[in-house]
């Protein structure tokens, strides 16, 4: 459903991504592995239109979307749970979640999805009237994930959802990613926790300084000597 072809993108005069190509098929979980500064976050930002690519094409269901503004990309069904828990600190947990459904107009559906998210994250239900900024780091991460689900996306971009979480929570988060996917959402998952990521994903890409250096089925990558050494610490 999503295809990047020769995407060149970045912030300043010299690009961060040097002709990146990748695909995510309908119903798939695809992971991007890479060390700090490789360009993973830049890739997700470029897909969502927060950065405009200088060259290359991004297609969603065959249609080019690389020129669209972010709000239009969101409307087409791409939600993004950004790096570093970008929540709204002075809005309540409920308001934060409702903002996730900003582009939707089906009140009844939004209400149901809110209920579903609060079911998935009981910690958020307990704190539904509390301001986002008062939550702990792990709770903010849940809030950010919950908010991205409120868009009822076709494709979910997740940027290091497990970063800084306790091991128990990490397992829970990956369980939730699987559930989301089973319910029909395609997922593009950026992770440093390669072990977990390769367990839930069907395919993966390894990104190094803005270039894909390795790609393949997750099981193969998990056996790859290079990957083992660089990302699995073996």
């Amino acid at each position: 459903m999503l295809a990047l072809e020769g995407v060149v993108s970045g912030y300043g005069p010299s690009p961060v991504l040097h002709g990146l190509s990748l695909t995510v098929a309908e119903g798939e979980i695809v992971t991007i592995l890479g060390s700090n500064g490789a360009g993973k976050t830049t890739t997700l930002r470029t897909i969502q239109g927060l950065l405009r690519p200088r060259a290359g094409e991004i297609r969603l269901a065959g249609q080019p979307i690389q020129g669209l503004a972010t709000d239009q990309v969101v409307r087409l069904g791409i939600a993004h749970c950004p790096e570093a828990r970008l929540i709204f600190p002075r809005m309540t947990v409920r308001e934060n979640l409702e903002m996730g459904a900003y582009v939707r107009t089906d009140r009844e559906g939004i209400r149901q999805d809110l209920e579903r998210v609060l079911e998935t994250f009981p910690r958020l239900r307990e704190r539904v009237g509390q301001r986002g900024g008062t939550l702990s780091g792990g709770e903010q991460q849940m809030l950010a994930i919950g908010r991205s689900l409120m868009a009822r996306p076709k494709l979910l971009l997740l940027d290091e959802p497990s970063l800084g979480l306790a091991p128990m929570l990490v397992t829970q988060i990956f369980g939730i990613i699987r559930e989301i996917n089973r319910a029909g959402t395609s997922v593009l998952l950026v992770e440093q926790n390669a072990r977990m990521a390769l367990k839930v994903a069907s395919r993966g890409y390894v990104l190094e300084t803005g270039r894909i250096v390795l790609e393949g089925p997750a099981a193969d990558l998990a056996q790859n000597e290079q990957v083992k050494k660089a990302y699995l610490g073996m």
Partner: protein
């Protein structure tokens, strides 16, 4: 060692500030109520009544400061720009209001015709300042969105000069209400009835609370309540709050930040226009450089309330209105800007986040 010396210097600063405050307070108390009677106090008043009188004057004045302060605080909240041109935008609103009222017949209007002219002035003036603010954002500030913060700040200062010169030019136009001297204060038609409600209600007191005072409250309060409800409950209002709290997060959920910022300038500008009409009808004089003083008062109000905070700007506006009214009373009108400036400095030293503002650094 280092921490200690830092703590020491902070204490010193605090002590100095406190000394300053105390000096100012004794100055305030020692100054005998001068022969200079207040504008709304024709009858001799008892001490408590006099205090009440100046409180009322302060509240009426503060309502206008609040409306202007909202424009500062909303724009700062969303793009962290201190919009130096905002006071001058308010002045342009006043010139537009005068032009409308004067064209409708000015001083000769009465009854329904006066009410109609006032309504028209509100409509035209508010739309005008809203439109100008919107246009300036589009043409001058938006291209600088990713520039270093100094660039839009200097642009705003430049806009302030442009607006003042526009005001000067407007004041020299051969049209109704302006007179021959461009820079001279213009008299704004006194269209509001001045019935002292205290007397009319048969309350045995020399206090004055007129239909004019009531008009100020009755027009400003609904605007403030309306804005509060709007920001709290509407889709656009929520998008404004979200964008102010974290622009990237707002974009990620599908909010068009550019559109929200434009709406913020539109609304903030409109409120300045409404404030300008209210002030014109209340004080009955306007001048091309009135934006400076009004801007100082309103900016201080916004900082005092906590810049970025909407309820803070309202509270701060009334507070500064009352402070300036008391300063007029106990010191002299020419001291009032100094008092307000002093207050601004004290706030910046002791409580930079203002009364209702958030602690700095929470912006994550």
């Amino acid at each position: 060692m280092r921490l200690r010396s830092l703590g020491g210097s902070a204490r010193l600063r605090r002590a100095l500030g406190l000394a300053l405050l105390l000096t100012a307070a004794t100055f305030l108390l020692d100054t005998p109520a001068s022969a200079d009677q207040g504008p709304g106090a024709p009858v001799r008043l008892g001490a408590v009544e006099e205090l009440l009188q100046y409180l009322l004057i302060g509240i009426a004045r503060g309502a206008v400061f609040s409306l202007i302060a909202l424009g500062y605080t909303m724009v700062y909240g969303i793009i962290e720009l201190i919009n130096f041109a905002h006071g001058d935008l308010y002045m342009l609103g006043a010139f537009m209001a005068l032009s409308v009222v004067a064209c409708c017949g000015g001083e000769s209007l009465s009854g329904g015709a006066a009410a109609g002219a006032i309504a028209l002035a509100f409509l035209v003036s508010t739309a005008f300042t809203a439109g100008v603010n919107f246009g300036v954002e589009r043409l001058a500030y938006r291209p600088l969105r990713n520039a270093p913060p100094l660039a839009p700040l200097l642009t705003a200062i430049g806009m302030s000069f442009i607006f003042q010169n526009l005001g000067l030019f407007w004041g020299g136009l051969p049209i109704a209400g302006m007179g021959s001297q461009a820079a001279a204060p213009k008299s704004f038609p006194d269209l509001l009835p001045t019935v002292n409600l205290v007397q009319a209600l048969g309350i045995p007191s020399g206090l004055s609370f007129t239909t004019k005072d009531l008009f100020v409250i009755a027009t400003a309060a609904p605007l403030m309540v309306g804005l509060t409800l709007f920001v709290r409950f509407t889709r656009l209002g929520k998008a404004m709050r979200a964008t102010a709290q974290n622009r990237m997060a707002a974009q990620v959920v599908g909010i068009n930040a550019d559109r929200v910022i434009a709406a913020t300038f539109l609304i903030g500008g409109g409120l300045a226009g409404a404030g300008a009409v209210i002030n014109g009808l209340y004080n009955n004089t306007i001048v091309f450089d009135m934006g400076y003083n009004a801007g100082l008062m309103a900016f201080t109000a916004a900082v005092l309330g906590g810049i970025g905070s909407i309820p803070g700007a309202m509270l701060g506006g009334f507070f500064i209105g009352i402070v300036s009214s008391f300063s007029d009373w106990q010191l002299a009108t020419q001291w009032t800007p100094a008092v307000v400036f002093g207050l601004l400095i004290l706030v910046l030293i002791f409580r930079p986040q203002g009364l209702l503002g958030r602690e700095t650094g929470e912006k994550a």
